[in-house]
């Protein structure tokens, strides 16, 4: 998996490419923690380039979201499609997060 992260306005936009599986999820969680330790509390996770996610990836997102809640921060999502969107739907995670079609649409609201 490849992670690209940039600060845009209020939020850190993190674009994930490839597969967020049990192996990649610890790297992903570390990357989120690194930004949080610098004081960032709003994240837009853009999944346009993400082809696959498993429960390990979902757990990383949920764990981070809980930590952010204590700091009045939030996770937003964009670009869900294919198998990734299916996993978000059947796990019910799609209703826990604010989901946008594109990162551009999300950034207007954050």
């Amino acid at each position: 998996m490849k992670i690209d992260a940039t600060k845009e306005g209020n939020a850190v936009v993190m674009s994930l490419k490839g597969r967020l599986d049990a192996v990649a999820s610890s790297e992903f969680e570390t990357s989120l923690s690194d930004w949080m330790s610098k004081g960032d509390n709003n994240f837009l996770l853009n999944f346009t380039g993400l082809e696959y996610i498993s429960s390990a990836g979902l757990r990383s997102i949920l764990a981070t979201s809980k930590k952010l809640k204590e700091r009045n921060g939030k996770i937003f999502l964009s670009g869900l499609h294919g198998p990734v969107e299916e996993v978000f739907k059947i796990s019910g995670f799609i209703s826990i997060f604010r989901v946008f079609a594109t990162p551009e649409a999300a950034l207007k609201e954050i």
């Binding site: 696959y52 498993s54 429960s55 949920l62 198998p83 996993v87 826990i96």
Partner: protein, 137 residues
Amino acid sequence: MAVLIDLRMSAKLESLGRLIGSLSNCAKAQGFEQEKISRMELAAEEALVNVFRYAYPEQPGDVEMICRLEGERLAIEIIDSGIPFDATAMPVPEVTDGDHEREPGGLGILLMKKVMDEVRYRREKDRNILTLIVQKD
């Protein structure tokens, strides 16, 4: 019932890529659609990661993955010699609640059951055998 894969590896996270890669290549070669292949990868990852995390609390062990073509369907068996564990008997979490306090424990099993056509468990000669079944059509 042609055996397409029979792969035994250490039950640890480092084995995941090789096992899933091999399953994926095999399903592709058998002409399964990408959508079905993604579902197989997901269900197999969830089953394998459960074995890595929970099957051998005391000492390291192995996991075996056997794939068989049974007519128009693929059966993926995930086998370990660890403590008895029946994923099919686990309660699945409620998916409709939207709060952040939900318990994520059974999430992998929920996904596995939802994306497979059938999931079966049997305990045989001190081994756990979880079978994931996907129809080709």
